[in-house]
Symmetry: C2
Subunit: 182 residues, 2 copies
Amino acid sequence: MKIYFATGNPGKLKEVSEKFAGIGIEVMQLEDEYPEIQTSQLEEVVRWGLDWLWERHKVPLMIDDSGLFIKVFDAFPGVYSAYVFKALGCEGVLKLMEGVDPRQAEFRCCAGYIDGNGQVVVTGTVKGRIIHEMQGTGGFGYDPIFVPQDQKKTFAQMTVEEKNSMSHRGRAFGLLADKLRE
Amino acid sequence: MKIYFATGNPGKLKEVSEKFAGIGIEVMQLEDEYPEIQTSQLEEVVRWGLDWLWERHKVPLMIDDSGLFIKVFDAFPGVYSAYVFKALGCEGVLKLMEGVDPRQAEFRCCAGYIDGNGQVVVTGTVKGRIIHEMQGTGGFGYDPIFVPQDQKKTFAQMTVEEKNSMSHRGRAFGLLADKLRE
C-alpha cells in the first residue's frame, strides 16, 4: 500500500516513512500545499485540509498539524503556534508567563488520513510545563521552554531520537499507523 | 444595484448599508460564512474568501477582515487579532508591551468585492499607538489601548459616530464605495 504525505519538511517525511515502513506502507511525498483555515481546533484544520487535497488528488494521503497549548491561556498559541513564534519567540511567551502559575501546557499533533472511504483523524499529545527560562539549543520553536511530564530536560536538550520517542508527532503517527493496520 | 454583504454583525451591516445607500447601492445580508485561511496578510484572507463565496453564490458580494498590527512585533496580532484577544485580552498585549518602545501600531481593515468581472480589494488604515493602560469602556477588542494619531482619546473613549468617522473599517468601505462608483 502507498500513501502520499503532504509535507515540505524532509525530516518529517523521513520520520513518518520509517514508522510506516514497519507496517508495510510506503510513504511518498505529495508536493502540494493546502490552505490552513482559522479555527481554535487543530482537528478542524486537518479535516478541512484533507477534504481539500482529496478533491484535487483523489489518492490516499496524509497531513498533520501541531501546536503548543498553554492551559492558562485556553489554547494559546495553539493552532497559531508557528505564527506566534515568529512574532514573539520563546521570549514573548516567557514574558506573558511572568508570575503565572500553574504552568501546564501540552504539545498536540493532529494527523489525518483520507481515501475513498473517508477520513481517519487522530491526535497525539505530550503533557508538560513551561519553564522560566530557555534551556537547550536543539529542536525548534518552543522546544527550549517545554519540559515533558516526568522529564528533567526540555525538548531542546534532547537528541532527535529521544524527542521523537516521546513527541506528540511520534504519538499521532503511531496512533494513525495502528488505525490503518486495523 | 444590489450587493450582498457576508457578515453576521448587525452593527457592521447597518454602517456599511448607510455608506453605500449614498451612492445608490442597496446592501443585503448574505447569510453564509466562509473559511478564513491562515496567512499573515488580511488581503489574502479576503481574496480567498471572495473566491470561495463566489463559487457558491455567484452574486455580487462583499466581505471584510480587520486586525491590529503592532509594529515592533511585525504584524502581531494581525490577522489573528480576534483569537489573540480571546486568549490574552488587552492585559496580555500590555504585558508584552511592558518596557517596549516605540509603541506604534495600526488598525487595518481589508474590504473586498467580487462579481463576474473579478475582485476589487482595498485596505483602510488608522495609524496610532498602544498606550500603557486601558482607557474607556466603549468599542470592543483592543479599542481601550489604541489611540489614533493626532488624537487624545482611545477608540474606547469615543462615541460610535466619532470612531466610525475615522475608523479603518469606515475608510476601507469608503475606498470600496469610491472604486465601485467609478
